[in-house]
Symmetry: C2
Subunit: 217 residues, 2 copies
């Protein structure tokens, strides 16, 4: 039996409901694969959005920023309710008719509120998770944060209380009579590719590309 | 002299202001390259986000959806103020210290409000723009919308009234003393790749892959 998030008025997928998924496994896997997302909150009745990296540990999502950042301080101090989304675009769905063109995607929308992380162990785990998510193997290799750097970094956590995923997969669905048209149809897959690393021009002579970045050999 | 958006309280980049750009050329080029974005609005004090495709024509941004879509109707009827964002992630910035890790990105955040598009020519141009943005060359090839399909489609326009771009480029910036560390540093470029098209299993025999999709030869 899959563990699920409760379906609420905010998270229920009403348009094309068969694309809706509420099990934690689906939500977590999308959040873990998406390197970036957007955080929305409301200031004086006006919606704002922050594009941001994030990491998930257990049922919490973490973001980090400078203690000097206006929105980080605002979220910390006012505990605005937030909506966070992340999307993976898997392919363009090219139908025979313009109308039935679509996109294969996996997206998550979740609702929560910010909490300032103050516990040292949780802070450390969150920062390690940010680095390892972007570049697995990196954390063990680099200089760790100093006391001053810790003080300059703010980490906020968001308990994933309400969440749903929306997923489209598979081929185009055309109208019956359109299958006879002489129009090519299918999927154009999209993929975020990690390309060949480019060394800093100030790289210390003799320092080799580490194995965890050498995925093009 | 570049044409610029006015800097407002909502769009001013206060954190790392040198990353802020307000000229229309920068904003437009990011909106045109990003295939997808997110739209945020406020319902009863709560922020909501919709991941969505979009297209730009002149100083207007367009989204489309079904006339049966709850949020499309809500935007049409209540004319909620919206915040729309789109981000291009160009690379991971791998510094020698965990603290100075960053991301090379180009993002736009803009503020506007929805207007229902009713004029036939504008509707047609917007739908063509959606299709051509995802897949240049496609519109001329496919079956065009019927009267009924037009009636099922809602297009909303958003005048780009307040907008700013935020851009980071270039190598990592480490602390002076860290350049002596034996740690590899540089950029890991990220790119959304269009992979080899996959034909629909129900493709009519004899229909060849069109030239505009044959970019892997």
């Amino acid at each position: 039996m899959k563990e699920k998030f409760s379906v609420t008025e905010k998270t229920e997928i009403t348009r094309l409901p068969k694309r809706g998924h509420y099990d934690k496994e689906a939500v977590y896997s999308i959040l873990d694969e998406a390197l970036f997302g957007t955080l929305a909150y409301v200031r004086e009745g006006q919606p704002f959005q922050i594009p941001t990296g994030f990491a998930r540990l257990g049922n919490k999502l973490y973001i980090h920023g400078s203690v000097g950042s206006f929105y980080m301080r605002e979220l910390r101090d006012k505990k605005h309710p937030v909506c966070i989304s992340a999307s993976l675009m898997d392919g363009l769905v090219l139908a025979r008719s313009a109308f039935h063109h679509s996109v294969n995607y996996r997206s998550v929308v979740l609702f929560s509120e910010p909490h300032l992380v103050t516990e040292e162990k949780e802070l450390y785990q969150a920062l390690e998770a940010f680095t390892e998510k972007l570049c697995p193997g990196r954390w063990a290799d680099v200089r760790k944060p100093t006391q001053n750097e810790w003080k300059e970094t703010m980490v906020l956590s968001f308990e994933i209380t309400e969440a749903s995923a929306k997923i489209r997969t598979g081929p185009p669905k055309d109208d019956e009579e359109d299958y006879e048209l002489n129009v090519w149809a299918g999927i154009l897959p999209l993929k975020i590719e990690r390309q060949t690393p480019v060394a800093d021009t100030d790289l210390k002579p003799g320092v080799a590309l580490p194995g965890y970045l050498n995925f093009h050999h």
